[in-house]
Symmetry: C2
Subunit: 96 residues, 2 copies
DNA sequence: TAAATAAGTTTATTTTATAAACCAAATTAT
DNA sequence: ATAATTTGGTTTATAAAATAAACTTATTTA
């Protein structure tokens, strides 16, 4: 009846982050922070979790001499998102 | 960009419960328990929260001499669900 | 050169979800 | 008849999560 919802994606900030990364090739930490309205600490933690799950890949480089964290969605992340959306349908669709 | 998600509905079991109640006029505790696969304790807690928020109304009666808890969605609950679904779209839709 | 800002990370706190334990009444088995 | 089990829950305790607060290091700007 109700399909289980991947707890890694069923989180407002992580879902927003993945949603963002889907349409954007790659994104830097401050951009994600700005678009989601998250605090840096919260975002840092959630990015770590998405990364640990293999849903995104994180590249830590430098821009000049400032740190620069770049995130990209992985194919596993994309698949997980699609599965999540599919599972959500079981909750949102009107039953006859 | 991303609309906030009502934390009361952004919970697997509470969302399933509301989703069920939308299509069903009313439902008894054991039925919701069976359909959602929840434990009685967990369901009891989540029903209380939905009730405290005014999203459902709970009628505690008896069936013969056994307790019988009947739940119905309220108009506030229906509206909250619709708002939640609308907010979710901002996370699920493909951005140009 | 002192203060403020940027870009994060780490740690602590609060909330939440969930499960475990419990209760009362009714039913079934011995 | 009474002991064990099931039904229909509630209450309390525990585990996990989200979030914020504090901190670090380097860089600008006043």
């Amino acid at each position: 009846m109700f399909k289980p919802l991947d707890p890694l994606l069923h989180s407002e900030l992580r879902l927003a982050t993945i949603s963002l990364l889907i349409s954007v090739e790659e994104a830097e930490f401050p951009y994600i922070k700005e678009q989601t309205g998250a605090t840096a600490g919260n975002l840092s933690v959630q990015i770590d979790k998405l990364s640990a799950a293999g849903y995104i890949e994180v590249e830590k480089t430098f821009k000049g001499r400032r740190p620069c964290t770049i995130c990209r969605i992985t194919s596993a992340g994309l698949r997980a998102f699609e599965d999540y959306v599919e599972a959500l349908r079981s909750y949102l669709e009107v039953k006859s």
